[in-house]
Symmetry: D4
Subunit: 226 residues, 8 copies
């Protein structure tokens, strides 16, 4: 039988086996038609968790036409199939949004961690301009196996958080801000230069990447990695 994705995509169906985490479909740069065909292929593999990331309204419509029950968060541009996340295992993921403007990216990380099998807690509007807000969450931070911090503008929150906890911090710079934020370059550089060790960084606005990494870090220890 002809491969319906021929000339379009080659799904990496063994990824779950090889890496322990399923593939995601990055929608930006694909036509809705292409995304729809991929969704149709996904529909035939109910055993696999699949995420569709960076999905515009048109992308989402194409997916939902095939998988009408899929989970969809329009702000985060995320769809998931099957629509229920698995029962969580491993450690706690804490996701912080420095400001309300960072919320969409933080939600993408939070949801991704959940769909990849982790408990995740989301906290909003704890930027460094009012330190009392983050200081009030130190107990939560110390329970985390990993902390994801989404921040735009000065991107200063990861440095402060890393100074307060033993957990590794994953910084996600966001693209909101005034002109000299240069669409996320400023917080990206801030986070790369965090004066507290324990911060690493993923791409600008890449909530999916941060959530995936957090799910890996907080994964249960296996026989192989004991």
């Amino acid at each position: 039988m002809a491969d319906p994705l021929a000339g379009i995509a080659e799904l990496d169906l063994d990824r779950t086996e090889r890496r322990g985490f399923p593939e995601a479909v990055f929608c930006a740069g694909k036509t809705p038609e292409q995304v729809g065909k991929i969704a149709a292929a996904v529909a035939e593999r109910p055993d696999l968790v699949t995420l569709f990331t960076r999905a515009s309204a048109e992308h989402a419509a194409a997916v939902l036409a095939v998988l009408p029950d899929a989970f969809h968060d329009a702000d985060a541009g995320l769809l998931a199939w099957p629509p229920k996340p698995p029962s969580p295992t491993g450690g706690l993921v804490v996701v912080l949004a420095a400001g309300t403007s960072d919320l969409a990216v933080a939600r993408e990380a939070h949801l991704t961690a959940g769909f990849l099998g982790r408990r995740s807690e989301l906290v909003v509007d704890v930027g460094v301009a009012g330190l009392h807000r983050i200081l009030a969450r130190v107990d939560l931070l110390r329970q985390a196996r990993v902390v994801v911090v989404a921040a735009g503008m000065d991107g200063a929150l990861p440095s402060v958080v890393a100074g307060l906890t033993a957990a590794p911090v994953v910084g996600v710079p966001t693209s909101v801000g005034y002109g000299a934020a240069f669409s996320g370059l400023a917080p990206l550089l801030t986070m790369l230069n965090a004066c507290a060790p324990g911060v690493s960084v993923v791409n600008i606005d890449n909530g999916y990447g941060a959530g995936h990494l957090a799910a890996q870090i907080a994964a249960p220890v296996t026989e192989e990695t004991r």
Copy 2:
């Protein structure tokens, strides 16, 4: 008694308690005299592990004048006191150097992870120009709780490694390369844009930061973070 560090530095002696990891002394930008005074203060706290990073020959001499038995790796610019790493706990850290030119940075990461209490294994010259070299290490990669990858030039190795293992990958771009590497900017961007999820990035040539982060990720699970 007057503080001998007054006007120079304020050691963060509680960091071990607060974060579970000791402070390091970043020597670049400090005078050897300042570093020597800090070493003297350290000498009075044998209970704390202290690392001196980015130490030039002059910095090292100033430390060794006070702590003659300190561990010193000149290539990596690293000193440690006490000179023996603690007994390792937690998971395995694997550190890869894409080429021989990335070795100094990779050693800094490898040694840091060890002094912060982890088992660490260092593998050299496994760049993507000859894929058979990294493919021969897949078994080792799958035992790792975290993989650190130091790479300059195209910085492509973290993407490839992340596709081969469930462990999170910490990329450390290095500054060696031809002109358009722009002193590490090129591999930095490559790693931030890794097409395989599971890669996060620390600063250019920051082997210390990578090793510290790896030690956090591979730390034993505690009561609090269970």
Copy 3:
């Protein structure tokens, strides 16, 4: 008779004789009216192959109004007249798209190579996150006289391909990706810094340029260049 292109363009009609390859009309930055006038001039020279590149829907309509039978690939923004490519000569061109999002650029290269007289084969979705996909094509790669690789994000595929074949590799960075891809700058730098020798690079999203160059590299050896 007045030149209908006066004040607009001066076609380089001798280019085929001088260089062995015909001129192409870069439509971006031209008005549809200007492109239409050029198409009219082209219509009078059926002996020449002419490509219209970077053609928007408006540009395409202006060309098709004059040359209704012209070949048109809307995704690749390409038109060709006459609509049939010549019989192929020379060596094989292999064009790879790292992901589905790179497909439009890869198609532009693939079609250009064909219209300039080469056999060309297009392979999709063979990015380095799942190495088995490219490793399964090694036999094809070794038959190629030249390999074109279109890749966005980390742009790592050309390095890997260059390590697998004796053929020269032409990298085409694409502009799709998260923020720190900086509209193609990241894969551009990656490819310029390829750790495997044998990679050269053309402009971001310039599938036409890659296909043209590939056609030149794979051209049959002439008396003059024997």
Copy 4:
């Protein structure tokens, strides 16, 4: 009489009258001979405070050959004549150095504010990786009419300080750090993007500029500006 500075410089001797602050001589890019001639001209105007900034050892020697009693701080690259600062007026200037590596720049700001007539207090090593250090200085911050913050790496301290005080904050990015600090670009961008309003920024390593500005902000209110 011939002007001994002809063809070299034209001192702005009226600046004190026009602006209320004397001229400074920026030594970088001038030859020691040129600086020496300017010092000789200064020697004839004991009524004016003159600062020599960014003075290398050679520049300093040239000044001291003419003005042997001048004040000289080699770390900060600063000389002053006359060597005693005036009696302070106006409000308090507080200068913070995030780390020891920022000390030279912070001292330049601190000394400049003093020589321009302000009380100034210098505090070292209060970076955000250990928040308790800056929180312990809140009382001092609230007495300041202006706070100068010198910080390299992530440059996060000004944001935190601005959130703690009503005084305006002048950020001075410093050039010390790992590669992706890009010689001060990273903290410069951080400070420009401070999420707390009340931060403005001067040039990288420009302690003189920060100190001058602080002296202006904390100047006593005059009849004219009442």
Copy 5:
């Protein structure tokens, strides 16, 4: 009672007490719904001055639906509640717009300073291409406690103004200009490199930040900061 802002924002209601200046709501990156909910929370605190900055027409509509009497300046993207600025105290703020194209940003600074309690005067079209225009305002400049200068293109006006007055100058680069202005980068760099000391810089187009800072600099001297 449930917090209506739960999961969206955490207002920093103590900021006035802590810093002496109220919080502002940065609308860019927030949805109109989120801004509307914040406006509703603000409506219950008539004792606090609140500014909404960077408000699009949609944001403004959401605010005005809840606070129909709020002050609104569409060009500056600013709303204020209560709609009347407080009686002014402290020194004079002078705001200059180098050209008409800089007027929106200058108005944002001017209005912000007024709503934060200062007298403010706005002067338009005094760029350095016709020096007589700024020279005619020297008397006004000398009455200012602080001067805000909004300028795009070459951003040269702050240097000239700083040479004419004892007051500190706050530069606000604007994003209008030809291509090599790079959306405000050019005037930003110009201002950071002002050859006259006394200039500091805020983010591109950040009239709010400039006005806030000016209000702080020109604030009345308090007991604490005497």
Copy 6:
């Protein structure tokens, strides 16, 4: 009588006397209303030549509502009043457009030179990919008092032209091209680095600036500058 431009603009009416060239109104960043008011003020000074540059369709409508007979070139975004250029004096200005895509910018330069009183000749599509086209114009180039060259992409034409003539060359980089042209940055750098002396550069797409400068260079020698 109240100034109808109060709070909007301050026309530099003496510029013609002071500089010998009239003011132009840069429309980008101004509202159509503001431009309309300026046009109304211009209407009262028929003795002055006024150009409106970077005028969108809305700007143009606002001008033409007040000055219905004004000259308008929509492609170049230019309006002029009075609509006839003065009788030319001085030397010849030659304007070259490397490709058709550079024509709008080249026309802006050509028209500006004409309205400022020079003879100007425009030549299109003489890029370096077909050298015979520029070599065929060497005679014309040698009659020019100044040559303006508009070029995007590689921006190589000014170097070649400067090697062929004694006249100074004014390069105008244009923003058309593939991604790594970075909206005109690439040809801007090329022109700044021209290997043939005699090239200077104006801003990206700034045809007005190039035409103005050319008009100055080719101006008739006056008593004063003899």
Copy 7:
């Protein structure tokens, strides 16, 4: 027997078989000791051509201590073993240096092509400021199977050459020039934006990469790639 390169390097000895071209040792970033050990390993494989690139005087001494008869070109930083290039096969490589300052890089390309088995001809000082120089070499260009062009400053020569020949052009930007060449960035961008198709680009100053690529392009056609 213990591997003398253990922990330093892993030579890719099969590269010749796999790719048809031998490995080269990139010396920059390696210590002379490391390079010396690699040379010793090379000494045992006389059947393989080995190049040492980017070799400083210290690197060269370390190689020559082990391989005293190795070929050494100090200007190009290149050593080769065995010292004689193989008998040439395939097509002609023409290498152009735009100016004398580009000669070292051009020589590296020229020598590399020779040691990898091609005929190569080197032509110096044919920059576009004096077009007659390159026009005098058109016959040679038309005999080439590939043309390598090393150029700094404006990097305009590849565009001109590509317009004159059917052969593919490999551009090598060099780092010599005034400040706004940004160490080779300017010619790099010029070449990426070449208005004539047929130009691809390698890294700044990477003569080795250009020569290697040229050797691949001009390689004799094999059974496999026929």
Copy 8:
């Protein structure tokens, strides 16, 4: 007879005839030996004016060994042969140095204009921080046929000068300044964005280029360009 420059350089001896201006030898990137050989070739053509630019002490020694009477200005890195400039013709060139740190570049421009046959006047230390200094030179500016302005830091002087005179202004950014001057990038951008029309720009620190261009602009009108 063998060409002593074979393989090194090809002098463009016809340039004077073709362009009216002689060739200059750019020494940076050439070895002293190469420069010495070129000087020897020059020695045989006493009819040609030759400049050696960007000459280090070693370059200068190599030239002076062959041409001991050559003119040499070590600060400007310039040598000229024959050592006397020709009798001046054409209009006046005025060269301004904004500060003493810009003097070397300004002198290079001033000397170049003189050796290419123009009257030239050099004025030092007239930066915009003290406007009275440039305002005192308005009469001189109005006599100039062209004004060259060398400025670092904010690079604001050309905008101000262009507003004061009808003559074209050639801006030369210099590389002296604090960190965010980015080695001349800041003043380069400022000058490209000059708000007053009439400014064009040459490369950073390129005094030679500015002087050459000024000599062309101020050249006497010829029969051909009348």
